[in-house]
């Protein structure tokens, strides 16, 4: 690492390091079903709380409002939805899924009450609009994460 050291710090040493830990995350029983359906059937599943009626995606075991068990309350969601919010990412960083600039959008899938973030492509940044109809484009290679949807793009 290069530092502007000057005389006072001429012997100061900064050691390069890395925090790296191969790791296995259990996806949970609910998450496993979601990820497998996404990967093998290209279906996007949510769960519905019978108490408050809210349809959650990504799915989860328990409604945070009602503590209702949602583990077997599956509903099939559409592969289409609308943009509810977006930002244009102008800065590159290693954890980001695309080279900048790209569009990170919040998308409410048809049949869901919550939105999911995803990359929006095939539209110029200046033409993105809240309320725009978009569809999921699935990845050709499995990732076992939400990136089994490669991106969303406008419905033409």
């Amino acid at each position: 690492m290069n530092q502007d050291k000057g005389e006072k710090y001429k012997d100061a040493y900064v050691v390069d390091g890395k925090l790296a830990l191969p790791y296995q995350y259990f996806a949970g029983t609910v998450g496993s079903k979601f990820l497998i359906a996404l990967r093998d059937k290209r279906e996007i599943l949510g769960v519905r709380c019978d108490t408050c009626g809210k349809v959650y995606v990504p799915p989860r075991q328990v409604c945070e409002k009602d503590f209702e068990d949602l583990g077997d309350k599956w509903v099939m969601l559409g592969n289409t939805g609308v943009v509810t919010n977006f930002t244009i990412v102008h800065k590159d960083d290693k954890h980001r899924p695309r080279k900048a600039p790209y569009i990170l959008a919040m998308i409410k899938l048809d049949g869901a009450d919550t939105a999911i973030p995803h990359v929006l492509e095939m539209v110029q940044p200046e033409n993105v609009e809240i309320g725009m109809e978009v569809k999921a484009v699935f990845s050709s290679e499995p990732t076992n994460t939400i990136l089994d949807i490669d991106h969303f793009e406008p419905v033409l």
Partner: protein, 390 residues
């Protein structure tokens, strides 16, 4: 015997900088512990019952330090060896509440609080905050605190009539105030034009709308009422605290609702006996990691009507209510210390030690701290001095 009240008796801050690369975290901690010992004459406990510090509360984050149980590394520097220590891995403003809880419960009557964070050592702080998101649905999309804040900014600005020009006003004013704050990081003045021509980072947020990378450390001595006089003639009383958590998944919530801050403020004000926040505070410190958060948090703590952030800026609300005399988080505090630095400024102001940025006659102030992106956990602290008359 447990105390009825607790006061902050001393505060020390290491001047915040973009990269304090030449100090290890241990030295940064020691550099704020030593002035607290000097200011108060307090000693570390050698024998039970000798009146010295026996309990230490620290603030740090494993990922920013790139070592797990990050508090282990600093035990000697904060005097915790052979004594009690607890770590708060959240915005350090919550550590004040933890310390006060220790005192009010009777667990101890004296707490040394020490927080540190270096944003500079990781290749990017956004890579650190990306790890706050779950590994299946959010992390792969590159979400981090800055991009999620940008999504909140878009929702909030639409709701409250806040424009690019309003954000520029917030940044210009932050720098002007920070120029008078010797510990602030970003102290160079900027013009409206410079802010409005600053490159877009994440629409609608420009680079100058986002707080600069920052390193620093803060220490405080907090004592129960019966012991305060041993350490200071200018105690700052902790009169209210509340916090509230929003949903984890960003798509589950209305990012512009402000509900966790409103609820945290309600809890803090009930404890402090505050009924009209717009009138009862002489000043406020709001934890604005990005410029839109200043008016948004002003709405949340009740300094400004809900949805009226834009008009409030136009009407001179920031100046009239003495918001962020320190320059705010926008002037540069590391993420773990944002709210703790806000609380530190409250203490300095309420002690009358703020020099040329002193709010005349300050008696009572409010600060907030945020943990997570888009104010996911909001914490509100009310502090006052003896002139508040309670």
């Amino acid at each position: 015997m447990s105390a009825k009240r607790a006061a902050i008796c001393a505060v020390a801050q290491l001047p915040f900088e973009k990269a304090i690369w030449h100090k290890r975290i241990q030295e940064m901690c020691f550099d704020v512990v030593e002035p607290v010992l000097e200011q108060t004459g307090v000693k570390f406990c050698k024998k039970p019952g000798d009146g010295g510090i026996r309990s230490i509360v620290t603030v740090s984050d494993d990922v920013f330090d790139a070592r797990t149980i990050s508090n282990n590394a600093i035990q000697d520097a904060v005097g915790a060896h052979n004594r009690g220590e607890d770590k708060v891995a959240m915005d350090g403003i919550n550590a004040i509440a933890y310390a006060v809880s220790c005192i009010l419960s009777g667990h101890d009557d004296l707490i040394l609080l020490v927080g540190h964070c270096k944003e500079s050592q990781a290749e990017s702080r956004n890579m650190c905050t990306n790890l706050a998101f779950d590994p299946f649905y959010l992390r792969p999309l590159g979400l981090d605190f800055e991009t999620l804040n940008a999504l909140q900014a878009r929702d909030y600005m639409a709701k409250s009539g806040v424009t690019d020009e309003h954000l520029a006003k917030v940044v210009v004013r932050s720098r002007r105030n920070a120029a008078k704050n010797p510990v602030a990081n970003a102290r160079d003045e900027v013009t409206m034009e410079e802010v409005m021509n600053s490159p877009m980072a994440y629409d609608p947020l420009r680079e100058l709308h986002i707080y600069p990378q920052s390193d620093g450390a803060i220490a405080m001595l907090i004592a129960g009422e019966d012991r305060v006089k041993e350490f200071t003639g200018k105690p700052v009383w902790v009169s209210g605290f509340g916090n509230c958590m929003d949903s984890y998944f960003p798509g589950d919530k209305d990012l512009a609702s402000n509900f966790p801050l409103k609820k945290a403020a309600k809890l803090a004000y009930r404890m402090a006996g505050v009924t009209d926040p717009a009138k009862e505070f002489d000043f406020a410190e709001l934890n604005d990691a990005a410029a839109y958060q200043l008016p948004m948090w002003a709405e949340g703590v009740g300094l400004c009507a809900d949805g009226a952030g834009g008009e409030w800026i136009d009407g001179g609300g920031m100046e009239k209510m003495n918001v962020n005399p320190s320059g705010g988080m926008l002037a540069g505090n590391p993420i773990m210390l944002g709210g703790l630095a806000r609380a530190a400024e409250l203490v300095i102001q309420l002690r009358g030690d703020a020099g040329e940025r002193q709010v005349a006659g300050a008696r009572r102030g409010v600060a907030n701290g945020t943990t997570g992106a888009a104010g996911q956990l909001q914490s509100v602290l009310v502090l006052e001095n003896d002139r508040a008359g309670r």
